[in-house]
């Protein structure tokens, strides 16, 4: 493999990893507050549609991303109300999002564009190169010639790491996911934290969805999310519920995604579907190896009600 090819695959890996990273961070914030949200795929689908529509109408991809994120928050509030206020089963409502949100997105798309064979196209977000740094050989193009979304997500990884490891507020936030009753007796508002977690989760997952239609391809189609929400879910487990771990996991999954794309181009003999499997197979393998150990926030997945006896 020559330098150019490697560089190409890596650049593609970074691009593939970005939406995963947004969504994995969304899940990290959710699980750290004890809420396992498996509805990421649904939130992403809705975010990708809203992002696309706004971008299509206004021609402004940034506005598209913002609205996609807000759309994600809106959808996730259903989950928040059911799991926090009504203390319902998280898996059930997560699954409900997965069924409901993509269907809603698909419905809205057809209402707006009708059923036609031509795809509506919107503007793609332009890359912003950082002067000087982008000319560093090899790394320059990889790290400093990307869309602002990519810079944003890496900044977010750093902020998240600092937040959870260094700040008072981050400590309180983690306590909610570990032992909500203890947090409550320490004067931490558990319900408020869980709602904040849902807002953050919806926002970031919606953003991850909108990235797909504003930075990655310039159209919306059903199934565009393609299970990325579940891969992000795996990335959180693989990354041991830490920001840096999640970053590594997403880059790894992104790399496999880029590699399979590259391999598809390279050969005619092997059906391309086989290569398409690679990221999902890697997810399975990662979960088999790392998912078995009990880890992560202790009360994740458990409903919390204060007056429980």
């Amino acid at each position: 493999m020559n330098w150019n090819l490697l560089s190409e695959v890596l650049i593609s890996a970074v691009r593939m990893a970005t939406p995963l990273l947004f969504v994995a961070l969304a899940e990290l914030y959710s699980e750290r507050a004890g809420l396992v949200n498996i509805g990421l795929d649904g939130i992403m689908a809705f975010g990708s549609l809203v992002g696309f529509l706004v971008c299509f109408w206004t021609g402004n991809p940034f506005l598209g991303v913002l609205c996609g994120a807000l759309g994600g928050v809106l959808v996730n509030m259903v989950y928040a109300f059911c799991t926090v206020t009504l203390a319902g089963q998280q898996i059930v409502y997560g699954m409900a999002l997965n069924i409901f949100a993509p269907a809603l997105a698909s419905f809205i798309y057809r209402v707006v564009f009708g059923v036609s064979s031509t795809l509506a196209q919107a503007t793609l977000m332009k890359t912003v190169s950082i002067p000087v740094l982008k000319d560093v050989p090899f790394l320059g193009k990889l790290l400093f010639d990307q869309t602002p979304m990519v810079y944003g997500v890496y900044l977010l990884v750093i902020v998240t790491a600092i937040y959870f490891n260094r700040t008072k507020s981050g400590l309180n936030y983690k306590a909610v996911g570990e032992y909500p009753k203890a947090a409550e007796t320490m004067g931490i508002n558990v319900v408020l934290h869980k709602y904040i977690a849902c807002i953050l989760c919806g926002f970031l997952a919606g953003m991850g969805g909108a990235y797909l239609t504003t930075c990655y391809v310039n159209t919306y189609s059903d199934g565009i999310v393609a299970g990325r929400g579940f891969i992000a879910l795996a990335a959180v487990i693989f990354g041991r519920w830490s920001a840096s771990g999640v970053l590594l996991a997403c880059l790894l999954f992104g790399f496999f995604d880029a590699m399979q794309l590259r391999l598809q181009v390279g050969t005619d003999l092997i059906p391309y579907q086989l290569f398409q499997m690679i990221p999902y197979v890697m997810t399975l393998i990662a979960l088999t190896i790392f998912g078995s150990k009990i880890a992560g926030p202790k009360s994740k997945g458990k409903p919390y009600y204060r007056e429980e006896r």
Binding site: R166, A182, T185, E307
Partner: protein, 502 residues
């Protein structure tokens, strides 16, 4: 003397059930006021009302003479009320220091000022004699130390009124002494303490005043100096309590189960067995004494077939057990009162009746066609007999078992396990968390089973229980058997030393 807390006419209702009814209670500055009552008397509920975890259905709370409405634990903390819960409110994945500063709102700023906080906490711990390693993780420290962290946590938040909910339940004798001195220190600094307990001895030792609760109501408030254990016990259970002593078994029969040089997870001091040999004979109770977490759990799992020994031999009724499951042990008439009744002994969401029959689903008295059809009527009739025979108090047989009190849950397990007249009964902490009445009942029933010829292996962290009931006693320490002693006039001093590994 100035009063700092007064609770008037407090009632708390859960559904149709009153956990607290018209309770009056007050605390003065610098005193230890004990709330005494059996399990389910409403002590914890009352305290949860005080710290704002529950909202009272009726009644009012006065702090320093002013009426307050405590809506959340956060507010209770602000008002200077700190509680050390029976089940510790500590985040295991975090360090001692992180747990103490959790939720602290007194200092502004985004980041944690570690040095300043550490200095402040160390000062407090020195002042009250609460030594802890601030950097240790909660999972790595002993239960006694965890309790010190809880007290420190409350003091760090400026608690003036400290609630200790059954603080000695989880401590060893030495740790209890340490707790007493901490309480003295707190009193001398002018803090007030609400002490919750159902152990007479310690109540008389630490309290200034005692309030007795029974069935959710206040019975009486007494000066500790003007009462004695007997009066308190009678008030608490509402009838005369007769001290009892069990007769020790004279002759014993053949061994029912024998362990020969059994090891399991040898490397672990707290979760393994190391070269354990013992035998339990017909018609005797073999008591296993020792501080919790010295291999008792593993022992109980091996003698009931839940796990298999890694080395050594297990002989059950003369056959060597090598590949047997828990089901095979049950087939061989081994009964098990597991250590955690909620997790291992019962299915919480199933009814009382169903739990009673968990082991009898293949019994043709209760089902046809190899268990494909259950005979509901026969099941009901059987359950009703058990209810009468074992004095299980519940609203109906259809009630979910988790809504029963601990004592009644234990009676359901006893009924299920003893009705088969087992050859071997393995009872692990059979009276843990039970009140006096229920404890007495469980012990009587086990003695009765022994007298019928059942071999009983009693594993308990309650030393008094082991002494009272056992015909022979062995002591476990770090997975090893430290020695065997006679149950008749046991050498208490030697056994205590063995429990500490000496």
């Amino acid at each position: 003397m100035n009063e700092i807390l007064r609770m008037e006419h407090i009632s708390k209702q859960f559904g149709d059930f009153y956990a607290n009814k018209d309770i009056n209670f007050d605390v003065r500055k610098g005193e230890v006021h004990t709330l005494l009552g059996e399990n389910g008397a409403g002590k914890s509920t009352l305290m949860n009302v005080l710290i704002g975890l529950y909202q009272p259905t009726e009644g009012s709370i006065y702090l320093h003479g002013e009426k307050v409405h405590i809506e959340s634990p956060a507010q209770a903390v602000r008002l200077g009320i700190g509680m050390v819960h029976q089940h510790f409110m500590l985040v295991e994945a975090m360090t001692v220091m992180q747990n103490i500063i959790l939720g602290d709102k007194r200092y502004k700023g985004l980041f944690i000022n570690h040095d300043a906080r550490r200095k402040e906490i160390l000062e407090l711990s020195w002042r009250y004699g609460l030594n802890v390693d601030l950097e240790a993780k909660i999972t790595d420290i002993s239960v006694g130390t965890q309790q010190r962290v809880e007290i420190l946590k409350a003091l760090y938040r400026g608690a003036e009124l400290l609630i200790l909910d059954e603080p000695t339940a989880v401590l060893t004798d030495i740790e209890v002494e340490g707790l007493y001195s901490v309480i003295e220190k707190l009193k001398s600094e002018g803090k007030s303490i609400i002490f919750i307990s159902h152990k007479m001895r310690e109540v008389l030792h630490v309290s200034d005043r005692v309030t007795i609760l029974r069935a959710g109501k206040t019975i009486k408030t007494l000066e500790a100096s003007e009462t004695d254990g007997k009066e308190l016990a009678n008030l608490m259970i509402g009838r005369e309590l007769v001290e009892c002593e069990y007769r020790k078994a004279e002759a014993t029969g053949e061994p029912v189960i024998e362990l020969k040089h059994v090891s399991y997870n040898k490397a672990s001091k707290h979760n393994g067995l190391n070269d354990v040999s013992l035998a339990v004979r017909c018609g005797e109770i073999l008591g296993v004494a020792g501080v919790d977490g010295n291999g008792q759990s593993q022992l109980s799992q091996i003698v009931t077939g839940v796990t298999m020994a890694e080395a050594g031999e297990v002989v059950l009724k003369g056959c060597r057990v090598s590949h047997m499951t828990a089901a095979d042990f049950i087939e061989k008439n081994v009964s098990h009162i597991p250590e955690d009744r909620n997790r291992m002994g019962l299915v919480g969401n199933m009814t009382v009746e169903e739990n009673l029959l968990l082991k009898s689903t293949q019994n043709c008295a209760f089902c046809d066609a190899n268990g494909w059809h259950l005979k509901k009527k026969a099941m009901r009739a059987y359950a009703e007999t058990m209810r009468a025979k074992y004095d299980i108090r519940c609203q109906s047989m259809e009630q979910e078992i988790r809504s029963l009190s601990g004592g009644n849950q234990q009676k359901v397990i006893l009924a299920r396990e003893l009705e088969a007249s087992p050859d071997l009964l393995v009872a692990v902490h059979p009276t843990r968390g039970l009140d006096i009445g229920a404890t007495r009942y469980v012990r009587d029933t086990m003695i009765e089973a022994r007298d019928k010829g059942c071999a009983v292996l009693l594993i308990s962290a309650d030393f008094d229980e082991v002494l009272q009931m056992s015909d022979r006693i062995i002591v476990m320490f770090e997975g090893k058997v430290m020695g065997e002693y006679s149950g008749k006039n046991p050498p208490i001093q030697a056994i205590s030393l063995a429990m500490a590994g000496k």
